[in-house]
């Protein structure tokens, strides 16, 4: 969870799964498995996942949104280190002025399971200027605004 009230363009989420890291890594990266869990009832349904799991390899996920419209998300693997890390870019086809963001997933074995830590960063950094982080600042304006009432 991100801390409340901290404007940031990075989302961090964690969950602990009762299984070895190798098993969780496999479920996360294997396209046949991903298509099974990567859906959100009421929001979207995933219908196919294609994946070339190696650094530089591409992945594509297709599905249907709640309103029946098709969608596609694609990206490229940057880091593939089973069973500890997978990092890939994320480019949804519905986003205005598409920005390619980055997702890093770390799998750490802990007592009784695996801690999965997902970091989605650069959500608002335009593609051509990777590294330029204008966003937290922009959200700072919003915070000022909101706090001013």
């Amino acid at each position: 969870m991100t801390s409340a009230g901290t404007p940031s363009d990075t989302i961090v989420q964690e969950i602990t799964v009762r299984a070895p890291a190798a098993r969780v890594f496999e479920a996360f990266t294997n396209p046949d498995e991903r298509v099974q869990w990567w859906s959100a009832p009421g929001r979207f349904r995933t219908t196919s996942v294609a994946s070339d799991l190696r650094p530089g390899g591409r992945w594509v996920m297709r599905g249907t949104r709640a309103d029946g419209e098709p969608f596609m998300i694609q990206g490229e693997y940057r880091v593939v280190e089973p069973p500890s890390v997978v990092e890939f870019t994320w480019l949804p086809d519905w986003q205005p002025d598409a920005t390619e963001s980055l997702i890093r997933v770390e799998f750490t074995e802990i007592d009784g399971g695996t801690r999965v830590r997902l970091t989605h960063s650069g959500l608002t950094t335009e593609r051509s200027r990777t590294g330029h982080r204008g966003w937290p600042q922009i959200l700072g304006y919003l915070q000022d605004y909101a706090e001013r009432g």
């Binding site: 991100t2 404007p7 363009d9 989302i11 989420q13 964690e14 969950i15 602990t16 799964v17 009762r18 299984a19 098993r23 969780v24 479920a27 996360f28 498995e33 099974q36 869990w37 990567w38 859906s39 959100a40 929001r43 205005p96 002025d97 920005t99 999965v116 997902l118 989605h120 959500l123 608002t124 335009e126 200027r129 330029h132 204008g134 600042q137 922009i138 959200l139 304006y141 919003l142 000022d144 605004y145």
Partner: protein, 108 residues
């Protein structure tokens, strides 16, 4: 808050550009004239005016006439759409990871 897709797109487009973000930064906490703003950049004044027009059409900058000068003021409310969008992604990941957990724990 209900934000039309078009309005949200306009906000995203407006702040995707570094010069426009810089303009917003200079307007944070104080109003400035167009000339004052332009003096902070190496770009030409018409170029800055063009950026300002885009910021105005996205609703992020409002202008006030003061004599011959035109004062620009930051209006941050439309950025709420961006914040809502980020929160939406957060909810998406929370849900997806829960599904991953259930999937793995039920298919061992």
């Amino acid at each position: 808050m209900v934000t039309s897709q078009a309005a949200r797109n306009a906000v995203f487009r407006a702040i995707a550009d570094p010069t426009r973000r810089e303009i917003l930064k200079h307007l944070r906490g104080r109003r400035r004239t167009v000339g004052e703003l332009a003096s902070k950049f190496t770009q030409s004044r018409p170029a800055i005016s063009k950026h300002l027009r885009l910021l105005r059409s996205a609703g992020l900058v409002v202008t006030h006439e003061r004599g011959a000068a035109r004062l620009c003021e930051l209006y941050a409310a439309p950025l709420r759409a961006v914040d809502a969008w980020l929160r939406d992604y957060e909810a998406f990941w929370t849900e997806s990871l829960r599904h991953l957990k259930r999937h793995v724990e039920e298919h061992r």
